[in-house]
């Protein structure tokens, strides 16, 4: 076993000489080239985070175009053609450009620091996987300017709307997804290689922080399903450009096959966007409860169980396509099962807080809001699992409410919690407390005002993806639109917090939070460019 491990740095390879070599051996490029050529996990992590924040605002502006049009019944601001491009681009940008890269950025920064590794296992590959992303998304955004407009078939791009009936720019959309997919696969390989090979001596798998565990499992999910996505979009490419009929009924193809393939990718994909969030929250809640995480082992097993189940539930997105009864029952039962490991996680977080010593710093506020709001999304998920009832819920705003609750007040809040938690480590300063609290409260109010009324409009009968609606849905949409603008505007505060935190603020010590335990808190704040060049002394937590 040991012979397979990469060579460990020798004792004489000290911090001073390593730093000296880096400075003298090859002069570090400055300016733009520094960022273009960097192989440092912290710099690449920052690039990922800045990229995802940029995409978050672009995708957010698209969402606000949608919400502005839906502010009242009737067509006021945009034509339906453009509206469909906005909903599609909003979904694609947020899923592939904002949430996923944000988690990869956090993994880049924190996984090596949490396992005591000097860097990612494959630093050049790391650089490549990041720089693919700006290319992919520049290409994707450019389709909006092409003749016939950008993708207008929803982020799920069901065939044949996305093939036979799609705008000419669809080929570019496929190419951009391919590039983003390659980036994800390479990133996942890197994370797996890092976690399996570069842990500090003495750190067993069951000693790893949960953020590392959840990312390890997420990376396996990515490797399993991104090729399926690549396959399905290649089939689309063939249908559009080379006369095949994979999804074209007129040529003997099968439009439902598209949905099976898409959701075989798509369902694990939604867990890819939530498992690392579980990891972040599992770091923050114990820290601010000053008490060890309750049920560490069951957290790991629950994460693995959710990941395995994610391959067996895909057709619950397809309850009304006319599946046979047995398939309908199978996917209903497996989907309901997901509630069990998910419930275990929530109970464990609450048990961690029980008899703790709790304080409410900004990371904790976001983590607590995550627990409550993600649970609300979990409840509507449980309702959606009931297949007969799904015949009423399917493709309505109830579904929109559900997946936004797990993704925005869920996953996004966990990312924000993680950012507040680790900003002192990244910048050496605490984020401004007052501004952070304003950001938190305005976000909570805005996000719930946006998404909670959608449960009602969906139950009352409003379909998804429509630019105009019947009059009985007007009040719900009015509230949602006001909430969306409040939520969008309050994210500018987050940018302000980051800028102020980078520039200055209260100095943070190495261990920035009283109850924090993991290895990242043993290096100085801000973390120097090179850390753990000699492996740290790791003392297992006797989990």
């Amino acid at each position: 076993m040991a012979s397979h491990l990469p060579p460990k740095p020798t004792p004489q390879h000290s911090t001073a000489t390593a730093g000296g070599m880096a400075e003298a051996g090859h002069a570090r490029p400055r300016g733009l080239m520094r960022w273009l050529l960097t192989t440092n996990h912290k710099e690449i992590g920052s690039l990922y985070l800045i990229f995802s924040l940029t995409m978050f605002f672009i995708g957010g502006i698209f969402a606000l175009v949608v919400r502005a049009e839906l502010f009242q019944p009737g067509l006021q601001l945009v034509r339906p053609e453009f509206f469909n491009q906005m909903t599609t681009m909003h979904g694609l940008i947020m899923v592939f450009g904002a949430i996923m890269p944000a988690f990869v950025g956090l993994a880049n920064w924190m996984v090596p620091l949490q396992i005591g590794a000097p860097d990612m296992a494959l630093p050049r590959l790391n650089n490549f996987s990041f720089w693919l992303l700006p290319v992919a998304f520049a290409l994707l955004l450019s389709t909006l300017l092409m003749p016939g407009g950008g993708p207008n078939f929803g982020w799920t791009f069901y065939a044949p709307l996305s093939t036979t009936y799609a705008p000419p720019s669809t080929t570019f959309f496929i190419l951009s997804l391919h590039i983003a997919g390659i980036s994800s696969i390479l990133g996942a390989i890197n994370i797996i290689a890092t976690i399996l090979n570069l842990r500090a001596p003495g750190m067993r798998m069951m000693d790893m922080p949960l953020f590392v565990w959840t990312w390890l499992i997420t990376a396996f999910l990515l490797i399993a399903v991104m090729p399926v996505l690549a396959g399905v979009i290649t089939m689309m490419l063939m249908d559009i450009n080379f006369g095949t009929s994979f999804f074209n009924a007129a040529g003997g193809g099968d439009p439902v096959l598209f949905q099976h393939l898409f959701w075989f990718f798509g369902h694990p994909e939604v867990y890819i966007m939530i498992l690392p969030a579980f990891g972040i929250v599992s770091a923050i809640i114990p820290t601010f409860s000053r008490k060890r995480l309750f049920g560490y082992a069951s957290m790991v097993y629950a994460t693995a169980a959710i990941a395995l189940l994610s391959f067996l539930v895909w057709a619950h997105h397809m309850f009304v396509v006319g599946l046979p009864l047995v398939a309908e029952l199978f996917f209903m039962y497996t989907t309901m099962l997901i509630a069990v490991p998910t419930g275990v996680k929530i109970f464990n977080w609450v048990a961690t807080m029980f008899r703790g010593s709790i304080s409410f710093e900004p990371p904790m506020l976001f983590a607590l809001a995550f627990v409550v709001q993600f649970t609300v999304g979990g409840f509507s998920g449980l309702m959606l699992a009931i297949s007969p009832a799904d015949f009423q819920y399917h493709d309505t705003y109830f579904v929109v409410a559900h997946f936004h609750y797990v993704l925005v007040p869920g996953a996004l809040f966990a990312i924000l919690a993680g950012a507040y938690y680790w900003l002192p480590k990244w910048t050496g300063h605490y984020p401004n407390l007052r501004l952070s609290q304003w950001h938190f409260w305005l976000s909570v109010i805005g996000v719930n005002l946006t998404f909670f009324p959608m449960h009602f409009s969906g139950l009352a009968g409003m379909p998804r993806r429509i630019p105009d609606y019947a009059l009985q849905f007007a009040d719900f949409n009015l509230a949602a639109s006001m909430g969306a603008f409040l939520f969008g505007a309050s994210q500018l505060l987050f940018v302000l917090v980051i800028i102020k935190c980078v520039r200055g603020g209260e100095k943070a010590p190495a261990k920035a939070w009283e109850g924090a335990e993991d290895l990242e808190w043993s290096v100085p704040s801000p973390a120097p460019l090179h850390t753990f060049e000699t492996p740290p002394d790791f003392h297992p937590h006797q989990h």
Partner: protein
């Protein structure tokens, strides 16, 4: 902090519970079929299960947040696992789910039993309208959005059933088991009426089945729920449920009208007549893509001044009858009568400054359709 937490807890509870009290317009409709009532009760059971779990979990959480605050001098305990508790909170949800799966399975089996129907309706989705065919009865028609464009564009006041009204509703008899056979001519659509608890995708190349037995006469409204292109929001479903006697009368009237329409194809039609009828057909079927003024939009070509079309009347008729494969242009062979095809072609050749002067006679079209049919 304390008042704030109380305020949040109170707010959340009221936000969750008010709609149940208000019910109408905030919740799923109970509907007018046995299945819709079963689904409604499943929905309410699972909802209340969620509320109970929520109260327990959030109660425990907010109690801990309040009771074990660092600022109150709370000292953290050191426990971090407890096997029996963990087994219990894995097992209890599992049991609740099994309890939930039983009635859900029964309802689902019932929904899938499409046997022994009294009436079969073929429902075909088309961008962006529904076509209904009463199988074995020689009655078929398309059902288009009834809301005028002015209301959508904001130049007219919106009516009570804005976007939920059609020119011709699907008429069904109450008390009879009606089987719906759903398919599509172009992209995937989904036919949904909340009060009937029927939602089923209409997929090209597939025929899906569902069924409904409506218990009360009335008008039930719904919409397409699968994104199907730009006018996805503008293809409502309206079902008019009537007593069986009334339904039989209605069916007889429709058969009569269809026979008249067929026979009127034999006579000579005047230009004015054709133009008037053509404008009607164009407005309901063609204008959503090619636009009211014939100028087209995006990928949809302009018809005003379209030289390929004006040069060759046969080419023009062929496109309307057979559609253009690989594009959104559908075939109207089965959607339109010979009279309607003749009228719309004539209209397109003589409207918006097109001055071909051609008038296409229904008899020519009828002949052509008969030839191609062979």
């Amino acid at each position: 902090m304390r008042t704030l937490l109380a305020w949040i807890a109170g707010g959340l509870t009221s936000v969750v519970l008010t709609p149940v009290a208000l019910a109408d317009g905030w919740n799923m409709p109970v509907g007018v079929t046995a299945i819709s009532r079963d689904i409604y009760s499943l929905h309410m059971i699972i909802f209340w299960i969620c509320v109970v779990i929520g109260v327990i979990v959030f109660g425990a959480m907010f109690y801990s947040l309040f009771r074990y605050r660092h600022s109150r001098g709370a000292k953290a305990a050191t426990f971090h696992e407890h096997t029996s508790v963990e087994v219990i909170w894995t097992a209890i949800p599992l049991l609740i789910l099994v309890g939930m799966a039983v009635p859900a399975t029964a309802t689902l089996k019932n929904m899938y039993d499409t046997s022994e129907a009294d009436l079969d309706i073929m429902v075909t989705g088309q961008q962006w309208r529904w076509r209904y065919e009463y199988l074995g009865e020689d009655v078929a028609f398309t059902s288009n959005l009834g809301t005028p464009r002015e209301q959508i564009n904001g130049t007219g006041e919106k009516g009570e059933y804005y976007l939920l009204e059609v020119d011709e509703p699907l008429v069904l008899p109450v008390g009879q088991k009606v089987r719906l056979l759903l398919t599509s001519d172009d992209v995937i659509h989904s036919w949904w009426v909340p009060d009937l608890a029927v939602k089923q995708d209409a997929i090209p190349g597939f025929v899906n089945e569902n069924w409904v037995r409506i218990e009360e006469p009335g008008i039930y409204r719904g919409q397409c729920t699968e994104l199907c292109g730009k006018d996805h929001a503008f293809m409502p479903v309206v079902v008019e449920a009537v007593k069986p006697e009334r339904f039989d009368e209605w069916l007889a009237e429709r058969k009569e009208a269809a026979a008249q329409e067929a026979s009127s194809a034999d006579r000579e039609w005047a230009m004015d007549e054709l133009m008037e009828r053509g404008q009607q057909v164009y407005g309901s079927l063609c204008a959503s893509c090619h636009q009211e003024d014939g100028q087209g939009i995006g990928n949809f070509p302009a018809l005003a001044g379209n030289e390929a079309m004006l040069d060759d009347v046969d080419w023009h008729i062929d496109r309307v009858v057979n559609g253009v494969s690989g594009t959104a242009m559908a075939s109207f062979r089965n959607t339109l009568s010979a009279v309607e095809i003749a009228a719309v072609v004539t209209y397109e050749r003589n409207a918006w400054g097109n001055e071909s002067g051609d008038s296409v006679q229904p008899s020519e079209i009828a002949e052509r359709l008969a030839d191609q049919g062979e």
